[in-house]
């Protein structure tokens, strides 16, 4: 143990262990990570186990964390139950997928177009527009909901898919991250393309978009996360146009008898954004490396 006392010999820094790290410190780091990791992951594991519990285990006392006889009954119940309601469960799924898809594709397309112009050129208004985006990063959708309701109702978007899809296109965080990432690609690439006679539209689509793939994948994740969890809220009244979270709310409002189906719905809700993140994690980390806000 005593030999771990580190002294740096000039010019010889060992690979692997950093010289200024103590063993006690490392143990502390692992301890904290495992302890809090358990806290963070526990509810999710509980949710998954709950969704696989047969009815008698759900109401067992004392409740167990881990399922003993796993079953997919809750999932089939969910579809059966919601198949009988006047808005079938599949309709909620369709609504959510539809709104998520259109909202996300439009967002990526428009945000990357705008970000391209702001990132690669200086022109009157360009700095102002970007600082505006940075400022609005701090306004969450919960706070803008009420004035948005008024604007949406003036546009007659209330109670249509558009009320969810179109505002999603203007999300500031996706724009911000794409623009920051574009700043890191060299301007010479674009100049070279120009010399070869390519027009702006072509450069954007054929050169810039493929390079910034990590950035728009990141914008996609944030967009999916927001839209997948949007049931329509105050903007959509018609039950047949609402998304999954609304269905989840309906099921849990059904009380004790529907708890199994509710547990299944919770898992369906959370699994999609988590899977999307797992598939794109390395791209996201790459993008977030340029997420800093400069003074």
């Amino acid at each position: 143990m005593a030999t771990t006392k580190t002294k740096v010999r000039k010019g010889r820094i060992r690979e692997g262990r950093k010289p200024n790290r103590s063993i006690a410190g490392d143990i502390f780091v692992y301890f904290v990570l495992i302890l809090f990791g358990a806290f963070f992951v526990f509810p999710l594991i509980y949710a998954i186990n709950n969704s696989l519990k047969p009815l008698n285990e759900i109401f067992m006392y004392p409740p167990k964390l881990f399922v003993q006889n796993p079953t997919t009954d809750n999932f089939s119940d969910l579809f059966l139950l919601m198949g009988q309601s006047w808005v079938p469960f599949t309709r909620y799924i369709f609504n959510t997928v539809f709104m998520t898809l259109l909202g996300t594709v439009g967002h990526i397309l428009f945000a990357s177009m705008g970000a391209y112009a702001l990132s690669k050129y200086r022109f009157p208004g360009s700095r102002f527009l970007f600082s505006l985006v940075v400022t609005t990063l701090m306004f969450s959708t919960y706070v803008t909901a009420i004035p948005n309701f008024i604007i949406l109702s003036k546009l007659h978007f209330i109670d249509t898919y558009l009320a969810i899809i179109i505002p999603a296109w203007g999300s500031p965080i996706g724009f911000f991250l794409i623009k920051q990432f574009m700043d890191t690609i060299p301007d010479t690439l674009i100049e070279a393309a120009k010399i070869d006679g390519a027009k702006e539209g072509r450069i954007y689509w054929k050169i810039v978009m493929p390079i910034i793939r990590p950035a728009w994948l990141t914008a996609m994740i944030f967009s999916i996360q927001a839209l997948w969890n949007n049931g329509g809220g105050a903007f959509i009244y018609a039950e047949e146009l609402k998304g999954l979270p609304a269905a989840l709310g309906q099921i849990t409002a059904g009380g004790v008898a529907r708890q199994g189906a509710g547990n299944a719905a919770t898992v369906i809700m959370m699994i999609v954004p988590i899977l999307a993140f797992i598939l794109t994690q390395s791209n996201i980390i790459e993008t977030m490396a340029s997420s800093g806000i400069k003074d």
Binding site: N20, P62, T136, I151, I285, G292
Partner: protein
């Protein structure tokens, strides 16, 4: 490209600007779709709520100018709003800084892990914030009857002899909400820190060892943090946005209104007046106050962060 040092008559400048703008006309076409939507649904709401906050407006009739009545009512006559402000600030003061520091600390610790473990660790800590509505699961954990997971554990092990109504007893509601909000607080800021730590140049650390940086704390303060100021700022913005915007969690876990308004937040109050009572002027005044507090808080944090590493 820029006009720096170019001081002539304003008219001349304007001409230049217009010419410059014309030269870049294709670029404005690129900007148009995004900024149209962005202006309508992100910028305009701030302006709209500022204007409407001085009016009486119920959506069905045209808004009537109301002067400062909404603000006066909010601050002097609306006890529930004052409760909401108190709760919002309590939540922001606790979950904002703790969530922010936790985001950094976990990102920093994870960075020390071997590469292949890192990806899993990031997923574990980030999953709750991306899982969205999954926080509903906490309502089973904190369920008030004896079948609630926490209650059953505490009763079985003999720590308590009767179940606690975690979500309806005013003594426990706020701590429960704080736990759940913190559970979800490792969001975009956390990812930014994870990524930012990778970007610090290894040569700087090596120079640091030679210059006698003794432990990881000194390394953090003198090398890592100053290199990550941009990410620290981004993380702060995210933390402030989240901690002031708590509303969904309180509504889903404790109901609306919650018992004695014990966890009623400004966002809950806003939703109450805006979507249930259609008093848009009044709701706009609440939104304006929220915008203002978030903005000022951001400015304050920004000036604090400038001192990092000095």
């Amino acid at each position: 490209m820029s006009f720096a040092g170019y001081k002539r008559k304003k008219l001349n400048q304007l001409k230049w600007t217009l010419k410059d703008a014309k030269r870049h006309s294709t670029l404005y076409l690129f900007l148009l779709p995004y900024f149209l939507v962005f202006t309508l649904f992100t910028v305009a709401p701030v302006v709209v709520s500022l204007v409407l906050s001085f009016t009486y407006y119920n959506v069905f009739e045209a808004p009537r100018f109301h002067g400062l009545t909404n603000y006066i009512n909010l601050l002097l006559a609306d006890d529930i709003f004052l409760t909401a402000v108190k709760n919002t600030f309590l939540l922001a003061v606790i979950t904002g800084p703790i969530g922010y520091l936790a985001s950094f600390m976990f990102a920093w610790f994870i960075h020390e892990l071997p590469r292949y473990v890192r990806a899993i660790a990031v997923l574990v800590f980030y999953a709750p914030s991306i899982a969205g509505q999954a926080f509903i699961i906490w309502s089973l954990i904190f369920s008030g009857d004896s079948k609630g997971y926490l209650n059953s554990i505490l009763v079985e092990t003999g720590i308590m002899n009767a179940p606690i109504l975690w979500l309806t007893d005013t003594r426990y509601m706020m701590p429960v909400v704080i736990i759940v909000v913190l559970w979800m607080s490792l969001g975009a800021g956390f990812l930014s820190f994870v990524a930012g730590l990778n970007t610090v140049d290894a040569a700087q650390y090596e120079a640091g060892y030679v210059d006698g940086i003794k432990n990881r704390w000194q390394e953090l303060w003198y090398i890592t943090l100053p290199n990550m100021k941009g990410m620290l700022m981004f993380g702060a913005v995210m933390a402030i946005t989240q901690s002031f915007g708590v509303g969904d969690v309180t509504q889903q876990l404790c109901g609306m209104p919650s018992t004695d308004y014990a966890v009623h937040t400004a966002v809950n109050h806003l939703v109450d007046y805006g979507t249930l009572r259609f008093e848009m002027g009044y709701a706009s005044a609440i939104a304006t106050i929220l915008f203002l507090s978030m903005f000022l808080c951001n400015k304050a944090v920004q000036s604090l962060l400038r001192r990092v590493g000095q």
